[in-house]
Assembly symmetry: C2
């Protein structure tokens, strides 16, 4: 990235002076849009405008797609209206929709007026789909062709309209009524005899998704089949857009972030970390902290009911944090593994008993190991043999108990159509804390004959 | 998927009888390789072999790519050697490598002997790269062209070699020595004048990755720039392969799974859940459970040292699980958010003080809220005003303390080049358990004047 740093430095001087170094401009034109956008962020808006005019329309539009909507709007609003109109038309339609939804409605209105009537209608239509559905993710910048066209005709068509399309690797083939007929890859069209009609080239067993499909489902279809893009259809099975893989990568990342935050016991943040205000962090976190605090307070009631036991053998209270902590740790390991396995489809509710059996067996071995270690540790601390024995047995049974509860809960929640990620590490810890105490105290009373 | 179910049912009878229904075969030929592979899993190997022979070579090879390596080998080993050889040649080279690495070395040797000498050499070379690097992910089935070729020549070349290439949407342009010169999209070649040389069409500011680049870095490059594929080069900057987007989607999913499992306090599983044996689950989990159990045992020592305090006011011990649980929950919320933010690059070590400040402030508000609730809860339980006051203060300070520790730890670990995901929810809980107890007992001694 030393190249980028060099460009940035040179730029500051360049456009102030009159001589425009062609070498530098050449360099700029060769740079990746993402890298140019990174440089843009550090420049003031006049320099940005100056720069944009030196790039090709396609290149400039791509750079704008990588900028934050507010910056893009600020820049566009300072340019000549004709240029602005051309740039927006060149941008990928899903990006235009994101831009229009992010800025003020009046600003959005103003931008839309610069678009040709038919494109404006398309964009307006796109803006009606919820953000997290196939309709919200899709772009209308694809190439479609009629089933009766020959390969030759299709390539001529691509030559004509290809400039505005986001991808041309797949050509979507429709019938006379606009219904999705099939998909042909550009590779297949080129490899076929030029006179072959598309209806003979295209695959007709096509996977498509309705516009209202959730983004998670779209991501799973696309990654399952290894597609570059998946077509989106309306209720009449008419082709209305495509979702490309780069949007899906973003969705996958977002969903993983949400799952991780939920597993941590917080409501997922809707903005990046530093854009989230302290007040917003507070609200996202206090919900579960409050529920867990109030719910967890029953542990105090449990302990109170064993007051006489604790009074008689104070040493028992020393091991409370260790034992309930171990139950929580075991639970946390299991629920995170299962939530993810449910998320990627490796495990389903029907596997309930298989999962419980597996976790029960694993839990027994883990419990025996930790029980043994617990005995040694307590013994070293100098408590009586009986107390050490109680600690060992309690460690074992708490781990086994926690294993079964943690195996069952996420699967049962998924069956109830609830999000299994609700069973966060903190929730399972809190749940097994109280029951763990009961196990501990019951064993103590039995062994110590209190 | 009713189509798939229908096909599966019909298939069982079909090949046993002599009449081969052309309609069914037509249906099979139109199906997605992924769906066909799903059906294949339920069929016995003779039927699989029969079926394969009815598909086109390209289609059959793709189906094989979706099967588990062991099944693919079993199937291939029962086919005619010529067919096997053709199928392997048609398969994507990265898939062939995965297959050869997964089966027994002797079996792999046998399969390799069926390949033409030059392709065998390429595959042997590919097998030397570690699985989780660019070299391990890449395929050699791309189209490369010389910089001096015209667009027309290039398209003729694609027609000739395109059948074996995995993608032809990008043409990789090299100079005479095989060094990467640039990339031209098929779209650009088609849109350009047929006489233009590739050197004028290709973009030369290309992003490529060295073969030894880690898979996470490759995924991040590809998704950052929204590329369809990224070229892989050797130390002499010679083009040796490409990594395509579908592999990257897999890598992103894998990495998210690993992070989630680590956050849960387990070593990441290397296989899907049901393929992981109980013994393997045990080993992955016992490591951290053991460390946390032995480490967490210091809480017993802490409590022992406050034995006289606990003896005097037994009620104090009732709130131990609640208070340390709350500290752990707060910590778990923060570390999961920060680990993910570090993972996707939203937060860096340089932001340490900004993060601490943000978490400290949020922690103060959360602490005050929970302190208030804690006071009410303890009061309702009927403990003395003083004890309730101690619980409230302890809740507040424990939350604040846990916030600061949890904010600092993941960032410091990332600075030390350690994986911040090591700071799992269970680890941070264990860490703040003991310190939380010290805070609680210190406040108790001060307020209750013990």
């Amino acid at each position: 990235m030393s190249q980028a740093a060099f460009v940035k430095e040179e730029l500051q001087n360049l456009f102030c002076s009159e001589k425009k170094e062609t070498r530098l401009l050449e360099l700029l034109r060769q740079m990746q849009p993402y890298d140019l956008a990174e440089i843009f962020r550090d420049l003031d808006v006049d320099l940005q405008r100056e720069l944009i005019t030196h790039l090709s329309l396609a290149h400039a539009a791509e750079v704008l797609e990588y900028l934050e909507p507010e910056r893009t709007y600020e820049l566009l609003s300072r340019m000549d209206e004709t240029v602005t109109s051309l740039l927006i038309k060149q941008m990928s339609s899903d990006m235009v929709v994101d831009l229009l939804l992010a800025i003020h409605p009046l600003q959005a209105e103003k931008l839309q007026r610069l678009l040709p009537a038919d494109y404006r209608k398309k964009i307006k239509q796109l803006m009606t789909y919820p953000e997290d559905t196939a309709g919200g993710l899709m772009t209308v910048d694809y190439v479609s062709a009629r089933a009766y066209w020959t390969g030759e005709q299709t390539i001529r068509h691509i030559r004509k309209v290809g400039y505005e399309a986001e991808i041309v690797s797949y050509i979507y083939v429709t019938d006379q009524r606009g219904k999705l007929f099939g998909v042909a890859s550009l590779k297949e069209i080129i490899l076929a005899d030029p006179k072959t009609p598309l209806s003979d080239i295209a695959k007709t067993d096509i996977i498509s998704v309705p516009a209202e499909t959730g983004q998670e489902e779209v991501a799973s279809v696309l990654s399952r089949y290894g597609f570059y893009a998946v077509p989106v259809v309306d209720r009449q099975h008419r082709l209305i857009g495509i979702v490309t893989y780069d949007d899906v990568v973003e969705v996958i990342q977002e969903e993983a972030t949400e799952d991780i935050q939920k597993i941590g016991g917080s409501q997922p943040l809707t903005e990046p970390y530093f854009k989230t205000s302290i007040w917003s962090l507070y609200r996202k976190r206090i919900v579960w902290l409050f529920i867990l605090f109030v719910g967890g307070a029953y542990t105090a009631t449990v302990l109170e009911s064993y007051q006489s036991t604790l009074d008689q053998v104070v040493a028992l209270s020393f091991f409370i944090p260790l034992l309930i902590g171990t139950g929580g740790n075991t639970g946390s390991q299991i629920v995170t593994t299962l939530i993810r396995a449910l998320g990627v489809g490796e495990v389903k509710f029907q596997d309930l008993f298989r999962v419980i059996k597996k976790e029960l067996l694993t839990g027994m071995f883990l419990g025996m190991s930790l029980g043994l270690i617990g005995f040694i540790r307590a013994w070293i601390m100098g408590v009586t043999f009986d107390v050490a024995y109680v600690v060992a047995l309690a460690a074992m049974f708490i781990v086994i108990w926690s294993s079964v509860v943690s195996a069952a809960l996420p699967l049962i929640l998924s069956r109830l159509k609830a999000d299994p990620a609700v069973v966060s590490g903190p929730l399972i810890s809190t749940l097994v804390d109280g029951t763990g105490l009961i196990i501990y105290m019951t064993i103590a009373k039995m062994i110590l004959e209190l």
